[in-house]
Symmetry: D2
Subunit: 347 residues, 4 copies
């Protein structure tokens, strides 16, 4: 059993991570830290963990964390970067679920996150933890930056089209819908049931922090410069992301919907957590609830020039904690689906 530490386990990605680790055959949870909840039983904050996680939150300390083999950061942006250098120096592998190491460009990071980076020298070393793109690098990594939830759903949907040079990189549109848990467990008026239930709205149209992350990932798939319009929306449900992606077939390309489907099947043939649906079946977010799977369909409505890709994930799982565990499995040489092998919950 490897020794696992979790920093910042009070948020939704934290509790989801603890749920998955509780069912992991190779992981032994050593500590869960939280400054604000120090001394409180984890299971008193999250009663679903009663009988599974029977330790209290403890004060985070490098000394304690250094005794772990791997440490997950499920903290707000800007927290992990303060401790990561010391942990790496102590030989601990680090998986960050926040955004601290997602962007390669330091200036861009500082612009979007509004603070100076504490260890910019690690931005290059950190491996972007999207296994479908970076599996081999992840296996070798000391430091993995887990992708954001939107970026996971959008990249997995667009990449086969861009990598095969089928669509115009200047005309990418990602219309994406997220459940409210994406906003976290902080007490914000906009996330109240009485505000967010029976309601649907767009937000962050003028610019969302996941935009540069998606751009960075898509740009790596094509030599031509990309232009992406990204509109996130808030959906009245707890979990789930549905990305509806629009790409225009390049003028010299003609692929039927059937051919596009086959291309996606090929692209993800060996991926344990990407499921390309049969033709004429569209994904629904509930089909991945509580699981690490991304389900995808590709359509060409009315044989027009617009290709539509539908991509769904559970934002807390493949969009956060599940992908983090998948990354741990790769880094430590476990079966890639260890602890991630149970079906989604439906209904």
């Amino acid at each position: 059993m490897v020794k696992v530490g979790v920093v910042g386990g009070t948020g939704y990605t934290g509790v989801e991570l603890l749920r998955l680790l509780a069912g992991h055959p190779e992981a032994s949870l050593q500590c869960v830290t939280s400054r604000s909840e120090k001394g409180v039983l984890v299971s008193s904050l999250y009663p679903n963990l009663r009988g599974f996680v029977d330790i209290p939150f403890t004060e985070p300390s490098i000394e304690t964390l250094s005794q772990c083999d791997v440490v997950f950061f499920a903290t707000p942006n800007g927290v992990a970067m303060k401790s990561v250098p010391a942990l790496l120096a102590a030989g601990v592998k680090v998986i960050d679920l926040a955004a601290d190491f997602r962007l390669k460009d330091e200036a861009q990071w500082q612009q979007w996150y509004g603070m100076e980076h504490a260890c910019p020298e690690l931005l290059k070393e950190a491996v972007y933890g999207l296994p479908e793109v970076n599996r081999e690098a992840i296996k070798q990594a000391r430091l993995v930056a887990c992708p954001g939830c939107y970026p996971t759903a959008v990249q997995l949907g667009f990449l086969p089209l861009l990598q095969n040079g089928l669509i115009d990189p200047q005309r990418l549109i990602a219309d994406v819908k997220s459940g409210v848990s994406g906003a976290g467990r902080s007490a914000a008026v906009g996330s109240l049931l009485s505000e967010a239930s029976e309601n649907f709205k767009a937000y962050g149209v003028s610019g969302h922090r996941h935009l540069p992350e998606i751009q960075q990932g898509l740009q790596k798939a094509t030599a031509s410069p990309i232009a992406l319009t990204f509109v996130p929306h808030l959906t009245p449900m707890i979990r789930g992301i549905h990305a509806t992606l629009y790409g225009e077939l390049l003028s010299n390309i003609d692929k039927t919907e059937h051919e596009l489907h086959d291309l996606f099947v090929d692209a993800y043939r060996n991926e344990p957590f990407v499921d390309v649906l049969p033709p004429n079946v569209y994904p629904e977010t509930r089909s991945v609830k509580g699981s690490n799977t991304c389900r995808i369909a590709v359509c060409r409505p009315q044989q027009g020039r617009q290709i539509v890709v539908l991509s769904v994930i559970d934002n807390l799982c493949k969009g956060a904690a599940g992908q983090a565990v998948q990354n741990m499995n790769l880094m430590l040489g476990f079966a890639e689906d260890a602890g991630l092998d149970r079906p989604p919950l439906l209904p």
Copy 2:
């Protein structure tokens, strides 16, 4: 008081219509018909109407309906067309909330609705009941075809851009999200709470009946042939439609977001039921719950070439029954907002 009849008042557009008529200062409800519920008190099916609508459903008959000044059809597609000629001949004004008279092209209608049209000669006469486009014609009409819910939200959002020749008519994308009440009150597995709650999905990507209706409406706004990609989605809430519309600025056009905002304000300056929001404010569906208002914002994210229009309505109100009452008000010379003058319900 004008005498009003409602045919088919058992569905959601029916009960919404009855709710609005109950508060209308000029309308006196004469009859509500339903074959299946004949003899049953309307208010026993819809307890919100207790004390407001105290009559039973009756068998539909031309004779009874002919004594009304105006008759609404809130029936499934293909029902109204069987009775409309007789009612018009009897001097009754008719407002159809279904699709029987929405398309001008008979062949297209038969293709999308899968049946022969019973009175194709009336397709030309019927006025498409979008007051923001056809107000004067509606005032003179004997027969008004109320627009579908998706077409209302999409057309009001796209029209100012198309009418002013700003966007490429070949690259229109409408990503639209609807509450479940849009699927009606029929007992379908897909509309069960246990299926549709905590879930988000696209449907009808390969072709939805509202597609030709939207195409017909948008085409009238521009001389160039249009191409539209329309993807409807099911959202876990009862009421509301949110259209996210994408249009690419023509290469010779440059308008700032501010200029686009002013253009929308101008376009809808005199419209009682279109509300262009202030800059940087995005609409939310709950802000129009139970009301006939369409709220709109226009954005140009990152000063790119894609214009994004956000347009919300209550699918049962401005998308159906409210617009029907607005049309009645125009046809009969009442104040356009008679019976439609109360604020939306929030939260």
Copy 3:
């Protein structure tokens, strides 16, 4: 038109009150005050009010409020009592939607609300604003204390049984379920959609502030001392309260379900806002959404000794703002249903 002021219009009872006042034929809104939102347009916080309430929040001041004929307090507990004496002295009628004047006993008030009362001398004068009990006193009142949401639903359900001496006052059980808007618009973790949706729980079992208020009201209906068990629950919806009330028939009493139904019909025959449902019909909260109506059914399951009363209201309307307007109508001699005459919203 009477001049109306609203103190503390930023919460849910505030926005509901503004919605109702916007449709009131006799009320002219003079000011809406909020310290925290001073200068902000009311309609920018509550977009449903765009076009209906076009004034900003202003700083509360006795001087401004004194120019109103009637002032509503939709403030947290403990706020109104600081200003009420001055307003009454200025000849303004006051309607408090909070708890400051609901209890007659000063010591009890201080015990449950955890502060000293600022004007205990007014506790006796204040009229408890349940029109079905106190209509005549309300008509004469300068100061009305609107009942809490739970107390409204529970009292209307129990009173006919207690007043007629049918049930054991020592064995009253009120199992009551509320939508989340009852917790208000403050940013509390427990009210987040991700916490309260897809969830049901009891709270405040050991003691809830509405308990002494209900006890006080029920005690007035019977000479014998009452004992009440009150268990509130949080339900995953925005609006609505459903009270399930249990009372044991006294051993010398035998009434059939039908006789009990008739007794309730008689009790509420002349009440514009209490609707006793037909036999074998149970109320549902959605049937009163956005309206001031309380719907009630009385049952005697399996001809046993337990009487079950089902009572539903909209917690924000008959449970708060609607009842406040009903009280204003009585105090000022308007039609009792002025501004409250539109059907509930369904679905």
Copy 4:
């Protein structure tokens, strides 16, 4: 690996059973039968099972089912009883998730279920599958009748009080709230999202089929005749049951809340799936979502005579499929929590 068959896998208890069996270390799924869906892939109906259950629905036949070691019936009431005698004769163990074998009294069964029983001779042999009451009998059983969802939550809450002679058996009240999945996956208007969402109501007050089942179970715990008032309610969520139980302390009994808590802790000390919460903590339904756990709290509000027990389960899991797997584990000598050992999903 034991060979497992599932009859009637198209409903919600069916899909939940398949989900749990997919993660069971000792069970090998041989067949899933459905007349209506014969030939259809199970995973095309339930996409969460893609990659986990890759067989089609097949026609039910005794021959095929006889090759299984154990057969689950997740069928409508009245189906299992037609096949059970033949399966038992073939040496197959049977677990019925429906009501066919829950009641011991044939006449009562026929009265409540409205049909003749096909094999009344088995009513006596069938073991009522509530492991907390009948564990040893279940281990020896050929035929287990899984309890209904309401009866599970109610009995686990009331039994310690009745078995210890603390409360008046003539004054039992069970006010119980269920998620909509309890109504199954059949297309009924009342279960539509647009009807059941944002709504709360009681139903079946005059008599619900779970009433005699609960009475039978509670009566076994006490020598005195019991009288139970049972009011079920429909709650706007998918999964979860919350029972609020009221029992009056017998006049010669005085127990503090603390003593009552200890008594419950003792009663369930060795139960793997009953979790008595710490004092002053109330259960919430989401804390057991997707799990086989029942969480319970016992309260004595205001030191009165009414004891309040709060008991929550997942209606599809401990209330149906999870309890069925727990029974299988007991019948076949597996670890009692095999396949049931993962934490609930929260949020």
